[in-house]
């Protein structure tokens, strides 16, 4: 949600390679680029498969589920006015369940930032960073063994 009082965060501008990814995000769907030959997912999207050098890449819907790989809460010194205004804010790397080390960055939601922990299960959601442009975020959700906030 854009707030007139708070400076604009950097809004991603797609290029031809990443356009299908951003279009899907704008529809509220998480897709990840996958090699149709070796079946390896890669993110961010690229022009060629870094694993087998195939150019036959496609964007595949993924579960949107994963876990917190690591996180930090920035309370001072943010190098952009939009984030200076949002301090304290949480930043996390999420590992998607589809593949080891398939990472995405996010500002985790659904939890007090100071209660974040490595391994917490997360689920994708989408945030409007600017009119008509969404970015993926991840919400900490309850796992089978623990309850959420």
């Amino acid at each position: 949600m854009a707030d007139a009082e708070i400076p604009q965060r950097p809004v991603p501008v797609p290029d031809p390679i990443s356009e299908p990814y951003w279009s899907a995000i704008d529809r509220g769907e998480l897709v990840i680029q996958r090699c149709t030959r070796c079946r390896v997912f890669q993110h961010p999207p690229a022009g060629i498969c870094a694993a087998c050098l195939s150019s036959e890449l496609a964007f595949e819907p993924v579960s949107g589920r994963g876990s917190i790989k690591t996180f930090t809460v920035t309370t001072g010194g943010a190098r952009h006015p939009a984030f200076e205004a949002r301090q304290p804010y949480a930043l996390a790397i999420v590992e998607l369940k589809e593949q080891p080390r398939l990472f995405m960055m996010c500002n985790p939601t659904g939890i007090d930032p100071y209660r974040l922990a490595i391994g917490q299960p997360v689920e994708v959601e989408f945030e409007e960073i600017a009119p008509g442009r969404l970015i993926p975020q991840f919400r900490v959700v309850a796992s089978s063994s623990e309850t959420s906030e």
């Binding site: 991603p12 890669q42 809460v73 080390r101 960073i129």
Partner: protein, 394 residues
């Protein structure tokens, strides 16, 4: 092909005055450092026929101005009236610039080369601050989330502490020691400002920046320049200072930081970080013919305190997972220069320079007895540079 092993040495060093901000133009400071280094080696400017530098401003978001925010090889050649057979505009930190200067000298393209670096800290704005409202390139996947330094380094510290039970107090011991050592590094900001040593209480009580990294885990941006004179071992013996021989180096740069793909795609987390550092280490030990147990002192990069333990683990100076313990209670003299955390954000200048001075026996109050092998590492472990200096030519 040529073998660079022990054929080349650092024979002179120069360091400008250190300022908190751009009180003196960077070109003036860099020229000051180059003149000093050349004189230190017992040479004159007319002897210099090679130049390498990294003409990139550390502070983003402003247009570079040669001589003010950056210093190019062309600027230096013009300023000092140099005529050079080789020059390089390096993209990577000074460690990479120094390594390539060694190669140029070893290959015979130049005879007495200078590697220099100037770092700008703007007078009228905060270091590294920028305010774009759109983003292209790899930043599309990081910038909208505010994934900037030091937060991206804090991510590594969180993971390390969670996995290995390492603590802020361990980093604190390292930082407190650096600030004590900083008073002995005469080129550093703190020594020149006469800062009080830091206590553990100060460290733990300082404001948090990005959990778990606080104010004193972050280096202080400064305006400074330094230079190194490099020549062949054969020519080195006739010069004024004892040579610091370059035994070998490694700078693979097969993965960048958080903005590019790691080995299996995605952003660098702790494992990526260590694995790429280990790649640097593997080739360092292969190229130098020594191992971690042979190292007498180490100056490992510390733009943020978390970086040094990860270098120590990657290089095999300690076990993977015990890096915090190592920096708290090092088994060899660590960061004798006081590093960035002690001397200010000089992007590896102090790490390289005190490694050289310790080998030469010219480190004054910092001098460690009988330093035969000194290891310097600059930049982060992925995309880092590691260099071994030796007192003996072979």
């Amino acid at each position: 092909m040529f073998g660079s092993r022990q054929q080349v040495a650092v024979v002179g060093v120069g360091h400008s005055r250190a300022f908190r901000r751009a009180e003196v133009p960077l070109g003036v400071l860099a020229a000051e450092a180059v003149r000093q280094a050349v004189a230190d080696a017992g040479l004159v400017l007319a002897d210099i026929d090679g130049l390498s530098t990294t003409p990139h401003q550390p502070a983003e978001g402003i247009d570079p101005v040669d001589g003010i925010t950056v210093v190019s090889p062309e600027f230096m050649a013009r300023a000092l009236g140099l005529s050079v057979a080789w020059s390089e505009r390096q993209l990577r930190p000074i460690g990479a610039s120094l390594i390539n200067t060694v190669h140029a000298v070893a290959a015979g393209q130049c005879r007495y080369a200078v590697c220099f670096r100037g770092l700008h800290n703007p007078a009228d704005r905060r270091y590294g601050h920028r305010s774009p409202t759109t983003v292209s390139g790899p930043g599309r996947y990081t910038d909208p989330y505010g994934a900037f330094a030091p937060g991206v380094f804090a991510l590594l510290a969180t993971e390390h502490m969670d996995r290995y039970g390492s603590t802020r107090e361990q980093l604190g011991q390292f930082v407190v020691r650096n600030r004590r050592q900083a008073l002995l590094w005469e080129h550093g900001y703190w020594a020149q400002q006469g800062a009080e040593p830091l206590t553990m209480e100060d460290y733990l009580g300082a404001r948090m920046i990005s959990t778990p990294l606080g104010l004193h885990d972050c280096d202080l941006p400064i305006q400074v320049a330094a230079a190194f004179v490099i020549t062949t071992a054969e020519r080195a013996v006739d010069l004024r200072q004892p040579p610091a021989y370059v035994l070998g180096s490694s700078s693979p740069f097969t993965v960048a930081m958080f903005d590019q793909r790691g080995s299996q795609g995605g952003f660098s987390a702790l494992d990526d970080y260590i694995e790429h550092g280990q790649q640097t280490a593997r080739f360092l030990w292969r190229n130098t013919g020594i191992g971690p147990a042979d190292v007498d002192i180490a100056n490992l990069y510390d733009g943020f305190s978390i970086e040094t333990p990860l270098w120590a683990e990657s290089l095999g100076l300690c076990e993977v997972g015990s890096g915090f313990e190592f920096v708290a209670k090092p088994t060899i003299p660590l960061n004798t220069s006081s590093g960035n955390l002690g001397s200010g954000r000089s992007h590896g200048i102090s790490h390289l320079m005190d490694s050289v001075l310790q080998i030469q026996g010219r480190a004054g109050l910092r001098q460690i007895a009988d330093v035969e092998i000194a290891l310097a590492a600059t930049n982060q472990t992925p995309a880092g540079q590691a260099i071994v200096f030796s007192k003996s030519p072979g």
